[in-house]
């Protein structure tokens, strides 16, 4: 009897191993299909025009052309695109990150009338698509004289990012309230309590959220196309798009692909560095 049990479990584990092998092969095949276009993108950026317009399936560049990246960087637009994006990133992440953390602290650890209502109101804004409010915002920013400057991309974001507030509040709820009470008893002011006690405790979560926010700003396209008219103010994504329109007529796909590869590098690098926390934070959003 006992023997039979062991045998049957061995059989299932053998069967399991077989299934696992098949699953692994299928998943790997899928992963290759997922990555292949991106791989081809990098390869195209090193090919000669003759090769990628030959109509033959040759994936590896022959010969390797290294010059396209330098050519992209030498286009004035490209560098100014990167600079403009960075000019948006820095103030937004610093100021917006601060206002968001502060608000999250208040929502999680302080008591005041209207807290629930304000929070629900803010949460509702996550659902509102930018497309719905882009016309009024455009009208408003034109009135302020902000159109064709980076201000429409900077100022509203400095008021805080609701999903960041939401996540940090969630994160803070795991920190015991005793800390707050102790700080109160010691007569520690609310701002100091935030800055010296709670902020250090939520640093990790703030970092993750700022990383995600950095990527969102870096990849943003719709708002910059609407608010920025002249080329010198374009952010990187708008520049890349214009490269595509302009150089695909000349079939200069190597140049276009090289530009796109550079434009993707920062977010991909960040992702590889902070993979674990980024994926965790995405996963939590579905469970909570």
């Amino acid at each position: 009897m006992k023997n039979k049990d062991i045998m049957s479990s061995e059989v299932t584990s053998k069967k399991d191993k077989m299934i696992n092998m098949i699953v692994l092969v299928l998943l790997s095949l899928g992963a290759v299909i997922m990555i292949f276009p991106l791989f081809y993108m990098i390869m195209t950026s090193f090919m000669t025009k003759n090769q990628y317009l030959s109509g033959q399936l040759r994936i590896i560049p022959n010969p390797w052309v290294w010059g396209k990246y330098a050519e992209v960087m030498a286009k004035g637009n490209f560098i100014s695109g990167i600079l403009n994006t960075v000019k948006v990133e820095i103030p937004v992440l610093l100021i917006g990150g601060f206002t968001s953390s502060l608000a999250a602290f208040a929502f999680a650890k302080m008591e005041f009338r209207g807290k629930g209502a304000i929070f629900m109101g803010l949460l509702a804004t996550i659902m509102i698509p930018f497309a719905v409010i882009m016309i009024p915002q455009y009208v408003m920013f034109t009135k302020f004289g902000w159109t064709d400057t980076l201000l429409p991309l900077i100022i509203p974001a400095c008021f805080g990012n609701i999903s960041m507030v939401f996540f940090l509040r969630q994160n803070l709820s795991s920190i015991p309230n005793d800390l707050m009470d102790a700080a109160k008893l010691d007569g520690c002011g609310y701002f100091r309590t935030f800055l010296q006690i709670f902020f250090p405790l939520m640093k990790g979560a703030v970092g993750t959220q700022l990383t995600l926010w950095f990527m969102t700003i870096w990849n943003d396209y719709l708002a910059p196309t609407i608010f920025l008219r002249s080329e010198k103010n374009w952010t990187l994504q708008v520049v890349i798009r214009s490269f595509n329109t302009y150089y695909s007529i000349q079939s200069d796909y190597a140049l276009i692909m090289a530009a796109s590869v550079i434009a993707m590098l920062p977010t991909i690098t960040l992702f590889f560095c902070f993979q674990r926390v980024i994926i965790e934070s995405v996963a939590i959003s579905g469970i909570k």
């Binding site: 696992n20 699953v23 692994l24 299928l26 998943l27 790997s28 899928g30 992963a31 997922m34 276009p37 991106l38 081809y40 993108m41 109509g55 033959q56 206002t99 502060l102 608000a103 208040a106 302080m110 008591e111 005041f112 209207g114 807290k115 304000i118 109101g121 804004t125 659902m127 509102i128 698509p129 497309a131 719905v132 409010i133 016309i135 009024p136 455009y138 009208v139 408003m140 009135k143 008021f159 805080g160 609310y190 990849n219 719709l222 609407i226 994504q237 890349i240 798009r241 692909m257 796109s260 434009a263 993707m264 977010t267 991909i268 992702f271 980024i278 994926i279 996963a283 959003s285 579905g286």
Partner: protein, 313 residues
């Protein structure tokens, strides 16, 4: 004596509570003000604009001078292009169930004890964090009729010339859906994988004791317990699906929405009306319809959550 002391303490407490209230409100003031200025006010303004034929000239007065009641909405309902973009947007939504099924299958595979799961997960996730503009450009190149990767592969394998992926009114929709599934698959995998890992092992063990088959376990344990995740993915992708814009502008030649406007979405139409022909009133009416659609999805979310979603207990 005792009562007096209690009273005094209560007074002190309420002074403290008041202080806390002042600071609390101050701390949330920035996001709250941002919400009022950059969200609530624009929404009201959009509704107002949708009742006019304003073209942006002569400020607020100019807008009110062009008041036209519900004319824009009446026109919109007779506007063939509007319906076409609405239908196209809805067709694109077909990518959602496809992505969810593929995502669930991949997640279930990754939930088994196989080596290299983390590497696999990362590979599927890379398209998600890639810039939408960059990968749209990439896929326009992959779909290129004469020299694209896809048609080169087809030609090598079959000797025949592949189809015109972005140049055919029906096929362009398929091409867009393939692209969107590719771009978003990683998110549903991660969400489903987290959901699967959250299901207690004991449930499956109990089912095994009862002699349940694999399919029964999947149907009676896995699917119901994943329903919160499924619902979350469905709602977020639906809301995102109604906002498709970048892909259309980047992947259609010269950003015209494809042959016969075949790839254009609601937001693409809205963008063109607003920022290319400056029919701000008409475009705002489209925006309001879009807001209503999103609002209905959110409402279904709230109602449906209690009805369809099953929890651990």
């Amino acid at each position: 004596m005792e009562g007096k002391k209690g009273n005094k303490q209560k007074c002190k407490l309420s002074a403290m509570a008041k202080r806390e209230e002042r600071w609390g409100l101050l701390f949330v003031a920035a996001p709250a003000a941002g919400f009022l200025i950059f969200m609530l006010y624009p929404i009201i303004f959009a509704i107002l604009t949708s009742l006019t034929t304003w073209n942006g000239a002569k400020g607020f007065q100019g807008m009110m001078d062009r008041f036209c009641g519900f004319d824009n909405y009446v026109k919109l309902f007779a506007d063939k292009k509007f319906w076409q973009t609405l239908v196209t947007t809805t067709i694109y939504l077909l990518g959602i169930p496809i992505g969810m099924i593929l995502g669930l299958l991949c997640a279930m595979g990754m939930n088994r004890k196989i080596p290299g799961v983390r590497v696999l997960r990362t590979m599927y996730y890379v398209p998600v964090i890639s810039s939408l503009v960059s990968v749209s450009i990439l896929w326009a190149w992959v779909y290129n009729y004469d020299y694209g990767l896809l048609n080169t592969i087809i030609k090598t394998l079959t000797g025949m010339h592949g189809p015109n992926w972005l140049g055919d009114e029906a096929l362009i929709k398929v091409s867009m859906i393939i692209f969107m599934v590719w771009k978003g698959l990683g998110t549903s995998i991660i969400l489903y994988l987290a959901g699967l890992q959250n299901i207690p092992r004991s449930y499956y063990e109990a089912a095994m004791v009862d002699g349940a088959t694999g399919w029964q376990k999947f149907k009676n344990i896995t699917l119901p317990l994943l329903s919160p995740v499924t619902f979350y993915i469905l709602v977020t992708t639906l809301i995102g699906g109604f906002q498709v814009f970048v892909e259309v502008q980047v992947m259609t030649p010269s950003g015209n929405g494809g042959i016969g406007y075949s790839a254009a979405t609601i937001v693409f139409y809205l963008y063109q009306k607003a920022f290319e022909s400056f029919q701000l009133g008409y475009a705002s009416a489209i925006a309001v319809i879009l807001a209503i659609i999103i609002f209905i999805i959110t409402l279904i979310n709230f109602i449906g959550q209690n009805k369809w979603v099953k929890t651990m207990d």
